[in-house]
Symmetry: C2
Subunit: 504 residues, 2 copies
């Protein structure tokens, strides 16, 4: 069964009609009291939970992902909807600041100024292949944009059309059941439909999770519009992992197991897959890795297109001079028609060789392959981390309680890691991204196209908000969030007169 | 005297050397404790104050702006440096969030996660023509980027080269005197030099204040780099003003005076100049405006290029069918060689005509000209506000205490105003932007290229920061901002275990 032929591509008129509905819904949905939107998001979570068995079954068939993984992903999806609902109930995300009228302000009388954040308008979400729930129709981008008060139009991924259709129906119906205006949420399918929507003036922002090539093409469209819009793209990431000599001595076997588990998890189809491993020269971990990798059973890839691209990129890596395959994975047929594969592990030959061929070896290969190299010195590590482009994560394995010498050596490495990435992981693995307020899922280009933002965690809502200030407004004409009696009971910062005297 | 021939354009090598120095300074400047950077910014403010007489004299000669205005602008510049210094001393701008390890987290064990904001890296600032201090070498973009911990390279404006050079010398020397690494701050001159720097991989973000054409060209360069960077451009704004019938009856003469004062302030060379005035049909304010505008004395424009462009645009407006000049301004010679002008006031003929020719009439004309139109109904106002592109401000003059009927009619108008702008001004004028935490100086394109940000007020620092999360880090390896004992004494949000139980 091919999944692709079941996708019903949106016509030009479909896209236009849905965008008109989204634009029509923007005022009402955006002006709801946050607690009312919170209740609607909670209702969406409940509705998805109520039909999770059916959704998981559809996704299993379409993606080949295991049931346990999909059940977990569905839970993540509903938990994050509830997390955003709580963010709305708290209200501090609106960042209300009131500067009171100050006739003695140092630069001349300061008027009463009241600032808060409002929704940017309709958001276009491009769903991902590898998370049929959590980065798809009702995933984090959708949840955060709806939370912000923006209508959402999702361009579904062709890898799981039936899952997408059913999820969409549940979301639409739960929103409608809670009084959300028609057009608050909808989906379209088809590449051309996505591009048409991205070019449309009614779309105010877009979010994307996918490949560097696809994401960059869409980013370029968003930036070259007559009215450019923000494009929050999460593209590709190599996620380098560095292991200190002390760590290999302390728990080499555990590190070997953890690495293989992480890079082959979900058939290596995670944006946080550790793609490059830097080990000291003096370790037998490579031998352990060979054994462990050889034991990993075949796993189906998500789509035929991903399988094809993975084969091409893996062949390309194998042909790099000096690179040798420690384990060469294979393909086996799978009833779905999309092949299953076993993992491939390359040795770069040397750090010098890894650096020399960095354009190929330090670029993401989506699927269960990884490259290891062995370093002689800290300079070798620095050289590679400097050559790495923007990445979602850098992982460092150190001894559990690093002594002063190890710490000293790590300092330079960690400075570099912060420059290159959005998250630095210690003695754990980058796959498995916790959905929580302090999470950062982002990083310098090409990890993302917007380094100041995250697509996981509550801070994701900030992508879809913009500030508006009211100056000297009669109280009755202010939005409720800014009124003197604070009817929405929002947390707020109030700056009284006299604040600026110290700035003379 | 032409000012242009005194600008010393940077060579390719100059630009390269300064960028290398900026990149070299980024680690140290960015890793300073915020309070230490605060002291350096305060020192810059003190040094500018100490030499303000000399700087004001240079700026008077180069820009033709009046002494009182320039003294005030210098004060604004040093006040805003001190305001950012205080922001650094407070530390909440770093937005530290700590999620503690939670073995019972609803989605599986949550690791210890600690998030804060770090500087993006070297920032390129394009200085503006119309604010030789506040939006120039030591202006808001520079102050906010330095505060964030980013080295700054300013591309100076050719309209005030000597002022720029002297300001730069003072800033550089005050920073060096406070131990800032070489390369923390520098300037370059010349259009080509600016483009070269914008294309350079060592530049991480850019800020710009200027024209739509110039800003868009630079935005396009920033977006089309192999590694795109954020470009915070403030381009052009029409700043519509709407006056209700009730307001005209209550204080028509005061509104007429206020409008003329605002649109001719600084020879109309403010990005917040109210360029379009919507009056009810039933008012004699137009007659009052004619008298007031005719009395405005000539004022020198900033540069010959601005004068030329202003003449072209004003001629273009005059030639729009149905438009008539209520007052036709003139040009008089000025010893500087840059002409002085008297203001021009157009009547659009009708709201219908204003709408029909919106591409010309609703586009910014930088200089002392404005267009008025008279409406019959609220629908007329809505039509024009809908046709207006993104704008920094919308101003509304209402009666001092609007009754229910006036409020009802205003609601739709204010919703539209929030969609179109970043600041809504009531019964005051948009020129004169208060530098204060609740300020918002931004708006949808083309007002700015980044609607979620401001270039005035403390929130401007957010443009130059990005989040990094540390997962499961040994305390000794964390940056001081995230360590358990909080050595920098930063305000922080700590999420204890158990938080997620309600998300089930």
């Amino acid at each position: 069964m091919s999944t692709l032929d079941r996708e019903i591509v949106a016509t030009t008129e479909d896209v236009d009609r849905r965008l008109a509905a989204a634009a029509g819904a923007a005022d009402e949905w955006g002006q709801w009291k946050p607690r009312r939107r919170a209740d609607a998001l909670s209702a969406v979570a409940d509705a998805l939970d109520a039909r999770s068995a059916e959704l998981v079954a559809a996704a299993m068939q379409e993606t080949g992902l295991a049931e346990a993984r999909l059940v977990g992903e569905m839970k993540r999806t509903t938990v994050q909807l509830r997390m955003f609902a709580d963010l709305l109930r708290d209200g501090s995300y609106l960042r209300v600041v009131i500067d009171r009228h100050d006739p003695e302000f140092v630069l001349g009388p300061r008027p009463d100024l009241r600032r808060w954040l409002i929704p940017v308008g309709p958001v276009l979400v491009f769903a991902a292949s590898n998370f049929p729930f959590a980065f798809s129709v009702a995933g984090g981008d959708t949840a955060s944009a709806l939370a912000a008060g923006c209508p959402v139009l999702v361009k579904t991924h062709p890898g799981h059309p039936e899952t997408s259709r059913r999820t969409a129906e549940i979301v639409r119906s739960a929103l409608a059941g809670n009084g959300a205006p028609e057009g608050t949420f909808d989906v379209i399918a088809g590449k051309e439909a996505g591009v048409q929507a991205l070019r449309d003036p009614r779309v105010s922002a877009a979010a994307f999770t996918g490949s560097v090539a696809g994401g960059r093409a869409l980013f370029d469209i968003a930036a070259s519009r007559p009215t450019p819009i923000p494009f929050y793209g999460e593209l590709g990431s190599i996620n380098p992992t560095v292991v200190t000599l002390e760590a290999t001595r302390e728990r080499g076997a555990q590190i070997a197991e953890g690495f293989v588990g992480s890079f082959t998890l979900g058939a290596g189809q995670f944006c946080t897959k550790p793609g490059v491993l830097l080990l000291p020269n003096d370790t037998d971990i490579p031998d352990q890795l060979i054994k462990l990798v050889a034991d990993v059973p075949p796993a189906r890839l998500l789509t035929a297109a991903i399988a094809e691209r993975y084969q091409e990129r893996t062949d390309q890596l194998a042909q790099v001079p000096g690179v040798r395959a420690l384990v060469t994975g294979g393909q086996v047929a799978h009833p779905s028609g999309v092949p299953a594969v076993t993992p491939t592990l390359f040795h770069a030959g040397s750090v010098q060789n890894l650096y020399r061929h960095r354009d190929v070896l330090l670029e993401e290969n989506f699927g269960p392959s990884a490259v290891l190299a062995q370093y002689d010195s800290d300079d070798d590590i620095v050289r590679i981390l400097t050559a790495v482009e923007g990445t979602l994560t850098v992982t460092v394995h150190t001894s559990e309680t690093p002594g002063p010498a190890e710490q000293d050596r790590l300092t330079r490495l960690l400075d570099l890691a912060a420059k290159r990435s959005g998250r630095i992981v210690f003695n754990q693995w980058p796959t498995g991204v916790s959905v929580t307020p302090a999470q950062q899922h982002g990083g310098p280009y090409p990890a993302t196209t917007a380094v100041s933002h995250t697509s996981v965690g509550t801070a994701a809502v900030e992508r879809f908000l913009r500030p508006v200030t009211y100056q000297n407004a009669p109280d009755d004409l202010l939005p409720p969030a800014l009124r003197e009696d604070n009817p929405w009971r929002l947390p707020r910062t109030v700056n009284e007169p006299g604040q600026a005297q110290r700035w003379h």
